[in-house]
Amino acid sequence: MSVFIETSWGSLFKWGEELCGDKVELVKKAEGVLLVLSDGLGSGVKANILAGLTSKIISSMVSAGAQIKDVVETIASTLPVCKVRQVAYSTFTMMQVDREGNAYLVEFDNPTLILLREGKRVFIPWVEQNISGKQVREAHIKLRLGDIAITFSDGVIHAGVGQLLNLGWQHENVVQFLEETWQPEDTAYDVQHRLLNECNALYEGRPGDDTTVAALRICVPNPCCVMVGPPVHPEDDEEVVNELLSCPGIKVICGGTTSQIVSKRLGRELSILLQYISPEVPPIATMEGIDLVTEGVVTLGKTLEILERYEENKDAGILTAKRDGAHLLAETLVEKCTSVKFIVGRALNPAHQNPDMPISLSIKLRLVKDISECLKRLGKPTELKYR
């Protein structure tokens, strides 16, 4: 079975620095995903350049089929030498995973990556080799559904040094934290964000080092297709409705007129629930074969508010606080699917062409764009398609 490889990463910049000395590079292809995390020597602009070069060289060369030996040799002979320290140095971790879950892992001098399977750390059969004087570790491992691989820069294990913890956070403490806080429904974003937040707390909000966490999760693909608004040309209605129906995962319609078009095209009854769950969000509707049908612009506005609150507080309770259309949509987009495609129709609603009307096409388009940006920040692959 072809798996979905979910990825997410985040960084804390060293206190006072404007640039991060860690860099994550991600290459997504039909055959799989390649994620590289690199930590450049020092901090600020120099570290940023070293890490950027390293991650880019690795991701470009490995995606083009180069062997790791050649890649490491290229890095060793390419990185600029630091005037102060007289060395060219950047650590890295690479995770290459195909759609069958076969992972090729390589690491050099980064804290060793942690693989969680059902919430417990799994042993990785590392093989060490010396390439250009560097001890590089490689492993081939088959990942299973639900597995989460977490890699991080040394800012994570230094969190709290000289502040809350004398020696900082040790690697085994990080393992313990990840195991203890693991939840079966965790996404890559959940794990990454939780660990980074913990580091920030240990640093008391003033990180003493650049701190980066990247997570990769293997899951069953469950794409979500959201149809928002009718297409500009009514003759395209059928094609758009077919595109929605052909989505193998969750199907959502946002918009009263849009849902009426789908209902008419398919000859399926649209039943709007009379009961308001919350006064500020119009009721949802039901239609056979469609997982969620909501009103358009008001619901989308509320959904964006909910997503932004969730992004800020990272409390899953925010998504499920109520069962109105906006909360159901936010929960679907964040928790229930692995990717989102919005099919955004740009037809003008003639009934809205009035200066007194508080809603307009531009507001709706803006909301969908903002929602998609927010979902991307939450690590969700999101696509916007305009019709």
Binding site: G256, L274, A351
Partner: protein, 83 residues
Amino acid sequence: MVKVSICVGSACHMKGAYATTQMFQEALEKAGIADKVDLSASFCMGECKDGPCVRVDGVKFHHVDQSRVESLVTEEILPRTQA
């Protein structure tokens, strides 16, 4: 049964459809005709400028905010239930 449908589309919602739906249920109970009326909600009826819009047996009524619900029930819906 008299069919009554309240528009809860975007524009009507913003013009007070929530209050209208709440008020309607109360007004039908008060008039003692709740069991003779099939009350439902509807998405956009295309009357956005003049919302909230309510359709009674196919006839549209505009600007039905909560202050107009009671008169609509007594003047338009009640006689239909007796017809």
